[in-house]
Symmetry: C2
Subunit: 220 residues, 2 copies
Amino acid sequence: MMTVRNRRKMAGIPRGVISRLPVYYRYLSGLSQAHEKISSAELGKALNMTAAQIRSDLSYFGSFGLHGYGYRVDELRQRIAEILGLDREYRLVLIGAGNLGRALASYQNFRRRGFVISAIFDSDPQIIGEELGGVKIRSIDGLEKYLKSNPCDIAVICTPRDVSQGICDRLVAAGVKAIWNFSPIHLQVPDDVVVEHIHLTDSLLHLSFHLRHRTESNQS
Amino acid sequence: MMTVRNRRKMAGIPRGVISRLPVYYRYLSGLSQAHEKISSAELGKALNMTAAQIRSDLSYFGSFGLHGYGYRVDELRQRIAEILGLDREYRLVLIGAGNLGRALASYQNFRRRGFVISAIFDSDPQIIGEELGGVKIRSIDGLEKYLKSNPCDIAVICTPRDVSQGICDRLVAAGVKAIWNFSPIHLQVPDDVVVEHIHLTDSLLHLSFHLRHRTESNQS
DNA sequence: TAGATTGTTAATCGATTAACAATC
DNA sequence: TAGATTGTTAATCGATTAACAATC
């Protein structure tokens, strides 16, 4: 029997649903062991969402709850982890060992979730050979050769704006399918490549906009 | 005469519009001086949006274009800068001088846009007194006293998850109205306080989700 | 003027929510 | 069983887009 929800499922998961899954996962991960069960109402209260939205989001992937009870925290977290693809390791290469690149390379939280930086590239001869978080900085010239023998899942772009699109093109040509972009430009990529943009300054401007136009309630 | 658009304006600017303004601004800022004019169609092509959306977004704030011509790049950038509140300086305080806090403090791009870090706080006696990007690290104990004599516009939270809500409450009590949150929790704040969350790990999980469920087109 | 592109409306599309039958 | 909460539908709400009159 083909329900409407099944059809929605087939048609693809809405963007909003996908970006809320990590939020649920993060919250569940932060709960103590003592917290055995949680209802959509409780979860919604903690995250400022409606209970209906949470149930609707989860139902895209199956039925993880128990009628009249709620969700078992452990199980729900585990299921979401699977949906998010957290049951394996991901190899990352990082391009650009400036301020931000260095900070990301030494931030150990990503590794904890299974995201391992396996190589760092830069174009500055001054820093090539240095180590960052246990990983040697290589010359950007060797990018293609490295990727050929060491395929990576995700490339992290932390380069200055004017070289980022070029680097991105080289990564895509080398077969990279996912890009984490910290450079302040909108990268152009083919349809089968996913890009997640972290535009720090954009987010600051969002704050200044609200400070400027502050009137009544403007909860984010 | 009260048009429908005016009514929409009164009803508040949609979230999506606000988050696209920085994107427009960033793109226009990246254009060379030689680029005098731009049409909504060109802008849309560069940013993977429809021309209609761009025109509709801008029309919330006025009429900045010229019929049959397009937009003058300089003027449009200037107008958006004003809308975003970029015609003044903002004072930031940063809480938590760990990996990420250090990176943000030494990242000079924010200052260039008028966002100036005026103080850094941490609880670790080992690093209190150190300088980061020309700013001394102070003891978190002095937070309230400092804010009393040095009001700030935006507080940047880079603390570990278990202390972040507490720090946030102290900031709000001290009158801070805008928070840039890098800590991996959903902060609870009153309605008149704006929070921008930067959840780096959430964004990584978005990528792993796409890698896991990769089928046809999944452009971000 | 003819050509081009804006600003704005109405139509479309998609996402959120309220409500409730199903069920533990 | 009675009480509670899920999963799912239909209704609502809001955002995007196509289309076009206005106009430079």
